[in-house]
Amino acid sequence: MEYEIKPRNKFSLGLKELWQYRELFYTFTWRDVKIKYKQTYLGMAWALFQPIVMTILFTLSFGKIISSNTALSLPYPVFALSGFILWNIFSSGLSNAGNSMIANSNMIKKIYFPRLIIPISSILVSLIDFVISFLVFIPVLYYYGCGFHLRSLVLIPLSLLLTCFCTFGLGTFLAALNVKYRDFRYILPFFIQALLFATPVIYPVKISDNSLFGFIMQFNPMSAPIELFRNSFSNYNLNIQDIIISVVVSLFLFIGGIYYFRRTEAYFADLA
């Protein structure tokens, strides 16, 4: 095995190297999951806490108003919970990834491995949380008289894939930015919270007549995955145009985020 260490200039994804270090994805994800629930009594059950409590809150407060004013394809609790568990991948993935490089700066300064592993495995932790909350989602789904259809087999993986794409993209981008400009550590929680209201999590896309709001909803890359996810349990019509826009935006974020990360990662050790 022969390789060179040179000043960095050209861009490559370094897939071959990522493959060599594949076990590290597992190790970091496993570590983060372990640490997250160490010394907690409920352990992994905490993964359920946020989506369930939020769903109950919104069902009790706005559930009636929202379902009477708009035509929902699903009972409100199912509608909200399905939105929240998918949204959680994005929100917790983004905030974990955004802080991941700083949190692991000790390692970055002392040892080499492909840096991309850090933000990506911190997002994988959110995916594991999703799997747990999805298991709880199934009984809720059946309790309210809904269920899976044949198209769920395509739509659920597709919605997850889109979610991962835009979370990976934005997550790696923010992780890299945060190393250089620590401002993002303050902006990020606020940004995520604000974005929740521009995503069809607690209300459907057509909640408002405001054209600007509709425009943001449309270009919000998380809109399509959530719509697709819900659609797999009901049978309302999908807006293909919205989905194409969302796919394009997610892909753009994915490529752009990883490109920026790869371009700047060489100097993380000097900056962190």
């Binding site: 095995m1 260490i5 190790t27 040892i111 401002d183």
Partner: protein, 397 residues
């Protein structure tokens, strides 16, 4: 045979930005769009460093703090890229710039071994295979499933070193990690390192402990201000390193800057070395007395004690001498036929014991003893270190 590492003209530039905070914020960046940035200082931590490493070489890298040793290791371990130049490597590099990288206090010893091992580049099956040996080496069997936060710091270090000791990479880059644990464990570590180096692997080793470097390494590199000053057999490199400051000043008198002593209550102004007949010099034969005169500046002389410790080339204290300060100078006479050949440094303190230290000078001032005629000189030629003092003993039958 091809070199396992080819290092060609490596340079590394750092930009020291005097105005900004340690890390940037957007506000700073934005405000600088309108205002020209002032003082950016460029600093070359390494300048055109080139050398080749053959498989099985053990190289010790020495130099003062800030000489560029750590930067060199960081570039070699790919943590930070060089500004210029390139390195060609023909083996897997494992870098141990710190022991226990990534150790997490909440995880158990077992989990940390797996975590640290895979961060260092070991595969899971490799760790599994070595696991018992690692735990055994660290001596923490009983606590292996206890969270690391309940370990003593010594146990943590031992576990950390143990993981590193079982790496199977062809090239090991080690920075000062040997300074861990108690004396017994250090001996164990040195033994392991020695074993590793004998197994034909390539080691690059940075340390301030000249003693362990001279034992472990065959060749040495002496870095100063980012430039290789000497690259040769380790003994020669160490010799060069110790004599290096002398190149600038051959004077027998060490005169301190006024700013170093003027604002102190009592401080050393200068230190002068002279021989039997009070002729100033820095190189003494072992059969000559060494007189060291300390000149003081300040008031309140009588309250303080002067403590001088003489250290050998391995920075091991040989002996100490103390005296009440009575006037503006004191002379310490080190008797002839006492110190053996080598370079000695002084560690000087002015203090009131257990109350305060008003001035100190560490390791800066040195003198040399040259042995041409003692009984032990034959041992010098075979590199046998026979001690720092000529013993005061008697044989009987």
């Amino acid at each position: 045979m091809k070199p396992i590492l080819e290092i060609n003209n490596i340079s590394k530039k750092f930009r020291i930005n005097h105005e900004l905070q340690p890390y940037l914020s957007l506000r700073d960046k934005l405000s600088h769009v309108f205002r020209k940035r002032t003082s950016i200082e460029e600093f070359w931590a390494l300048k055109d460093v080139s050398f080749n490493v053959m498989p099985g070489d053990t190289i010790g890298i020495i130099g003062k703090n800030g000489a560029g040793k750590s930067t060199l290791l960081k570039i070699l371990s790919r943590i930070t890229p060089p500004t210029n130049g390139q390195i060609k490597s023909r083996g897997r590099i494992a870098s141990l710039l710190e022991v226990g990288t990534g150790f997490h206090p909440e995880l158990s010893g077992r989990e940390n071994v797996f975590l640290n091992g895979s961060i260092l580049g070991m595969k899971r099956f490799e760790i599994k295979k070595q696991f018992d040996a690692i735990v055994d080496f660290a001596g923490v069997e009983k606590f292996i499933d206890t969270p690391l936060k309940h370990y003593s710091s010594g146990m943590q270090l031992r576990l950390a070193f143990a993981v590193a000791a079982f790496l199977e990479n062809e090239i090991l880059i080690i920075d000062e990690v040997l300074a861990v644990g108690d004396a017994e464990f250090q001996k164990k570590c040195m033994g392991k390192m020695d074993e590793v180096s004998k197994s034909g692997r390539t080691i690059l080793f940075v340390s301030h402990q000249l003693g362990s470097i001279s034992v472990l390494c065959k060749t040495g590199i002496f870095l100063n201000n980012g430039i290789i000053v000497n690259h040769s057999v380790i003994q020669e490199t160490i010799q060069q390193y110790l004599e290096y400051p002398k190149a600038g000043d051959v004077a027998s008198e060490y005169q301190r800057e006024i700013s170093q002593y003027s604002n102190k209550e009592l401080a050393i102004k200068s230190v002068v070395f002279t021989d039997n007949v009070y002729k100033p010099k820095r190189d003494f034969f072992h059969s000559e007395d060494v007189n060291v005169t300390f000149n003081f500046s300040g008031k309140n002389l009588a309250a303080y004690t002067l403590l001088v410790c003489v250290l050998n080339t391995l920075k091991t204290p040989v002996f100490s001498a103390e005296s009440k300060i009575t006037g503006d100078h004191l002379t310490l006479k080190i008797n002839r036929d006492f110190l053996t050949q080598g370079a000695y440094t002084l560690r000087i303190r002015i203090h009131i014991l257990n109350v305060k230290t008003v001035d100190y000078i560490d390791d800066d001032y040195h003198f040399n003893i040259i042995d041409t005629s003692s009984d032990f000189i034959v041992y010098n030629n075979i590199n046998y270190f026979y001690g720092s003092v000529i013993g005061n003993y008697k044989w009987s039958e």
